[in-house]
């Protein structure tokens, strides 16, 4: 089974290397270390959101409100900075995470207590969050000149050769990976998605586990909200519009099963990187950005097909292990 999972991620890793190779053959500068760092930094927001989304999808749910959560948190941070330029970045970061977590918890509560399907809940809250941005901003933009230098500078500042934004991507990846692999809550995410009935008998509260998944996803969306607005130095109603679908796509390409309970954090990281590389490489090699959509779409279908085929291969293994069992018996 381990070889199996490894091979799924290995295939995706190989696809990424092949992609890089093809790009490098036409445009060698793309694979220069400095450019790769730039691509990773650019992919970090997608990565952070996809990590949160992974946890939600593992519990058999989906969070469509992440991009709206990001935009609302970003707007609040930007307006706060414009009103109180002296507020330290640390306080804004804390606030962004707390606000995002609050919105995520709201999703989680609706899913948990009212047992509404998550796709409906988050479709609703997505629209509500976007509406709230309009209400608090009156539809106006917060532009670069209204933001303080420390506010916009933070994600771009470099530490040990890597921009802070990229560090956040790495940090969140490591934290989520540890949480998933090494905490009872992480195990519960898999159990709830893999077999909710069994989870109930085991004493795991399915709704509560899903609540925590949404809260985590929301917190990460909030964090990204500040980073996003600060990096692009602009906040308006429609930022990151439709980004939630790209986030779900990264998870699916990474092998996270929409049926819940299956997938790895490494898969999500690779899925996000794949999309990030495609997005950054196509303009460089002079292919229309519309191709990017076609390529992303193809990648999703290929990934899902491979997952289904893997699941079938799993059926055949039963015989082999039965044989092995007979041999040892």
């Amino acid at each position: 089974m381990m070889t199996f999972l490894k091979s799924r991620e290995a295939m995706l890793g190989a696809a990424i290397l092949l992609l890089l190779f093809l790009i490098a053959s036409r445009f060698p500068a793309f694979v220069a270390p400095a450019n790769l760092v730039r691509v990773f930094t650019d992919t970090s927001p997608l990565l952070i959101l996809a990590l949160g989304q992974t946890v939600v999808i593992l519990t058999r749910c989906i969070d469509l409100s992440v991009a709206a959560n990001l935009a609302l948190t970003g707007m609040v941070c930007a307006m706060l900075n414009a009103a109180m330029p002296g507020l330290p970045v640390a306080a804004i970061l804390l606030l962004a995470v707390a606000l995002g977590a609050f919105m995520g918890a709201l999703n989680g509560l609706l899913v948990w207590k009212l047992a509404i399907p998550s796709i409906v809940v988050t479709l609703g809250t997505m629209t509500i969050f976007r509406g709230i941005i309009f209400l608090i901003s009156d539809g106006a933009w917060v532009n670069a000149h209204e933001m303080s230098a420390s506010f916009t500078g933070f994600p771009r500042s470099t530490v040990l050769g890597l921009p802070v934004l990229a560090w956040f991507g790495l940090l969140v990846a490591v934290l989520v990976a540890v949480m998933i692999a090494r905490t009872p809550l992480g195990r519960a995410f898999y159990a709830v998605g893999g077999n909710p009935h069994a989870a109930i008998y085991t004493g795991i509260d399915v709704g509560k586990t899903q609540f925590w998944a949404f809260t985590l996803s929301g917190a990460l969306a909030g964090l990204t909200g500040y980073l996003w607005v600060a990096r692009y130095a602009v906040a308006y109603v429609d930022i990151a519009g439709g980004f939630e679908l790209e986030v779900v796509a990264a998870c699916v390409i990474g092998g996270i099963s929409i049926a819940g309970g299956a997938g790895t954090i490494l898969g999500t990281i690779l899925g996000a990187l794949f999309l990030g590389i495609v997005k950054n490489a196509l303009p460089v090699v002079d292919i229309s950005p519309f191709w990017q959509m076609a390529i992303s779409g193809t990648a999703i279908i290929v990934a899902v097909t491979l997952n289904v085929r893997n699941a079938r291969a799993k059926g055949r293994i039963i015989l082999r292990s039965a044989q092995a069992e007979g041999a040892t018996a």
């Binding site: 195990r187 077999n195 069994a198 085991t202 292990s321 039965a322």
Partner: protein, 515 residues
Amino acid sequence: MQMSVESRQFGAPAAGDEPILALSGITKTFPGVKALSDVSLDLYPGQVTALIGENGAGKSTIVKTLTGIYQPDAGEIRVSGEPVHFATAQDAAAAGITAIHQETVLFDELTVAENIFIGHAPRSRFGLIDWARMRQQARDILTRIDADLEPDMLLRDLGIASKHLVAIARALSAEARVVVMDEPTAALSHKEIEELYDLVERLKSEGRAILFISHKFDEIFRIADRYTVFRDGTHVGSGLMSEVNEADLVRMMVGRDVDQIFPQRQKSPGDEVLQVVGYSHPTEFADIGFTLRRGEILGFYGLVGAGRSEVMQSLVGITRPSKGVVKIDGTIKVIRSPADAVSNGIVYVPEDRGKQGAVIGLPIYQNVTLPSLSQTSRNGFLRLAEEFDLARHYTQRLDLRAAALDQDVGNLSGGNQQKVVIAKWLATKPKVIILDEPTKGIDIGSKAAVHAFMAELAAEGLSVIMVSSEIPEIMGMSDRVIVMREGLIAAELEGDALTPETLVRHAAGIGEKQP
């Protein structure tokens, strides 16, 4: 209800009528299990044949064989004397054989008329569905069976009894000559059952052959003309209902000999561990009271749907009782959730392994440690080494056969999956373990292993509640048996009072008559 007092030799079919459907020498083997061995079954026009047998006797296998879902390994099926071969369910349907299942397979979001004619709807000249004709024909059939239903009603708005009527109407629309009814009255009220009997009479008068599967003796004697009894996949007897009485049928069903070997046990129950008083639920069970001692195996017997699993689910906090008290070691405990039950030392190994047991996709060791994560973690972080130790300890005790502990549970056989689930619960070090149909659907070898292990657990002082519908298992393993019927305790049996006959009598609600 009056029946013949005379009992005669079994197996003498009446001469005269030609059977519409005749199965003979049918054998069907599944990996490790011989489900049917050289059985025969004849169905006659205008007559109701009751198929009787304990759970696991092979009733549903024969139904699936004659409706074309299973193909027999050996044997012959004849329709009106002609040998036939049903490769698919469609073949059987084309031959006029229809089954009405326990859970009717109908479509909730479609109308009554669409459900009746799905698959064979009347078509117009252009090949489109002829709605007017379909409605008219549906109305005709519904009138014929006296069903007060409109063709345009949505199925989801109907009760279970009405859904049965739709299923029967569907059988009639397909010009069924043979109608199989698998426990049709299990979920019906008394009035609805009477209506169903009338309908069966009408089907009989139209010359259709009916196979009626039921555990309820009163209804078998009320509507059946003939009987066929199966036991452990073999044909035990058949004949006319007028020539047998209840005692004969019970004797044929349960047999005399318990040919399975069960572990010898020293019966020395200790102190009371669990006491349940006046346990009730608004709709599922009432006034359940029993005690369980240390080291005791308490059997719960009853027909499917008697409320045994519902009581157990309530005991472990999955559903809430409306009243009643649970005492553990003499002190009253309130169990609000499965987590409460686990921490109070009560665990439940559910019947449906696939749905409620193992988490397919997680490796073996993670399945085992799932309810014990607080044991294997420090400061909120899991310790893989300790998880492996715990999993290794309990899976070895259960003699689990697996290549490695990080293997996916989904790759294990049914018996080994069951061992993983039991290991999971033992790892929580419970006081009371509830096993719901612990050996259902697993092969004989694994069954013996589970039985031996159950005896070992009891000897170590664990108290076991075993819910089982298999009489040999109940007889062979239990110190005491509680029989449930229709949500109530029908009897508590022990010692000499515990016989296959008394079990079946109390479970089926046959009065205390002399056999």
